[in-house]
């Protein structure tokens, strides 16, 4: 049990910067997810916490100890790798107990710890098997078991689910969440899958190009993204971005998307945006905020008609794609309301959830 702190961490590989100055405080027992596209430095950051990579500069603390020069085995961490990294010549029991045996734990305690971890992960009857006799999901459990038996200060997960098929991934995701509820240990979890990040994290750390773009709860990064990158990366399908101009008249504001299309800015946002009147900005709206038109319009919503380009039924909802001023835009409508491609359809934009982004700084206003 320990908090982890990163102070101005920099990592360069042969002059190529991978991590460019990261500050991060992880509370005791917190589940932190580092998320970002490949090459954003999230795995490198994790490996520096593990001690598998040396930080070029900056300080790493686990608990109250500065661990920059502490070898991995003395950092009291456990790591779960993407490809499981089980020892192929050992049984599941031997795999899970390897760390304890190296540390010369007494045999009865090893047995007790392995069995209790096996119970948590529901792999008790696999203990005598070899890794090659296990399925992907079972191997992943064993890899987690190997981490749990050590009872470390920090769990590190390096994209643990990306080798599993889609269905199993969802199952194991829930499994990891359950395990963390039973074994509350500080956890740092790396993934490129924003759904995993949203579902697992206490706080999400969105990384981009070796820097942290935003740290926040899943709710915060979803509803109040700080940068254009976070807005586009979190959420699936991704947020729609459309170039626009902010226009003001008599104390009210509106966004001009095309010659014909103009959305009014809700009153409670006017003060926030009023400094940018006349500027060319980027208008961001998530697909779920573009829905079919039904009944009266509540405040903050605006109706508009579109010509459907592509219609994708997903079952519980239907994605509709249309073009606004040369930009493809996606909406998420009720399957019963969706028209066919080539037809005109009335839609409603919920502007209470709109975002305006300054294209010069890529910051959300």
């Amino acid at each position: 049990m320990a908090q982890v702190a990163l102070r101005k961490i920099v990592k360069t590989f042969d002059k190529t910067p991978a991590v460019q100055g990261i500050d991060l405080d992880i509370a005791d027992r917190e589940f932190i997810v580092l998320v970002g596209p490949s090459g954003c430095g999230k795995s490198t950051t994790l490996r520096m916490i593990a001690g598998l990579e040396e930080a070029t500069s900056g300080e790493i603390y686990i608990g109250d100890q500065l661990v920059n020069d502490v070898p991995p085995k003395d950092r009291d961490i456990a790591m779960v790798f993407q490809n499981y990294a089980l020892y192929p010549h050992m049984t599941v029991f031997e795999n899970m107990s390897f760390g304890l045996r190296l540390r010369k734990f007494p045999k009865p305690e090893i047995k007790e710890r392995v069995e209790s971890a096996a119970r948590i992960l529901d792999i008790t009857d696999l203990l005598q098997r070899q890794p090659k006799q296990l399925s992907g999901g079972q191997r992943q459990r064993v890899a987690m078991g190997r981490a749990i038996v050590r009872n470390p200060k920090v769990f590190l997960f390096d994209e643990p689910l990306s080798n599993l098929d889609a269905k199993l991934r969802v199952q194991m995701r829930t499994e990891i969440k359950k395990v963390h509820q039973k074994v509350t240990t500080t956890t740092v979890y790396v993934t490129h899958d924003q759904v995993e990040a949203m579902t697992l994290a206490d706080r999400v750390v969105v990384m981009n190009g070796g820097r942290i773009d935003q740290i926040g709860t899943p709710h915060e990064v979803y509803h109040a993204p700080r940068t254009r990158f976070v807005a586009g990366f979190i959420g699936s399908p991704a947020m729609n971005f459309m170039p626009c101009r902010l226009v003001g008249n008599n104390g009210s504001l509106s966004v001009q998307l095309s010659d014909k299309l103009r959305f009014p800015v809700p009153q409670d946002r006017v003060a926030r945006y009023s400094g940018h009147v006349g500027e060319d900005l980027i208008f961001g709206l998530r697909p779920e905020d573009i829905i079919e038109k039904r009944g009266d319009l509540p405040p903050g919503r605006a109706a508009f008609d579109v010509l459907l380009e592509v219609v994708e039924p997903m079952g519980m909802e239907t994605m509709v794609y249309f073009i606004i001023d040369g930009v493809e835009v996606c909406g998420r409508v009720n399957p019963t309301a969706a028209g066919n491609a080539g037809e005109t359809m009335p839609l409603v934009a919920d502007l209470n959830h709109m975002h305006l982004i300054d294209p010069r700084t890529d910051l959300v206003l």
Binding site: P71, M79, N83, A85, Y87, H89, F98, R150
Partner: protein, 303 residues
Amino acid sequence: MTSTTAEIGATTGVGRFGSISRGRKRALYWSYFFLVLFVIFFLMPPVYMLITSLKTSAEIGAVTNPWWVYHPTLENYITLLTQKNFLTFFRNSAVVSVLVVSLSMVVSVLAAFSLARMKFWGSATLATGVFLTYLIPDTLLFIPLFKIFAWIHDTTGIELINHWWVLIFLYPTLTVPFCTWIMIGYFSSIPKELDEAALIDGAGYMQILTRVFIPVALPGIIAATIFAFTVSWANFLYPLAFTTSEDQLVLPVGIVTTLIKGDVYNWGQIMTGALLGAAPPLIIYAFLMDYYIAGLTAGATKG
């Protein structure tokens, strides 16, 4: 080739399954034909050796069917196995081979581990260097080696020539580079995460080697062991060049030098000696065959 094309053309209307299985059968026939041809070609000499070893000198010299034994006898075997010389050769060979294999494996496993896993300054160049060493033919090496021995004798007074045990230091010049190269391939094919996991689990480099790498790369180690054993058991040139006294000879040279007296070839005993000499590698191969094949193919896909 032309007949195959014609047949495919003829059977298109009938259905493809027939033609595919027929094509497979034809391929199998040819495979069998050539395999049997090779087996006969390669087994003929040992079979002929066996036949000759069971004959008396008189029968070998007689004008009869050379492929048949009319008066089988174990006389050659008995003579050789009761002769002190032959047993000395055998002992020398066995001691040299066992020690060379042990020495080579210890050196090359450690070398390969460090070259494959501990990235240090010049490690890649060193690894290539090790392989290049192997490419130098051993016939080129024995003259420089002679020079080195002479120099050692001049400076320290230690005589290295004409001692069977000096082969223990000579053969590793042949075995270590190749074994190291094989093992580098094997160790490189072990995923990096495995040693990282062990590192986090608390293992040091030596423990990673002994508790993870060696067990995982066992097929490769066996392949390298067999290679080292074969080289040190069957090498002819070095013992011929460096040992001369009869009690210092190893099997391959011993058989040739003691059983050929002047221009008299004692064929029966030569063949018997050669057969007996070939037995140990054969037995070791038979035991480790499965590992060896797994080892060779595993090495082929990686490294």
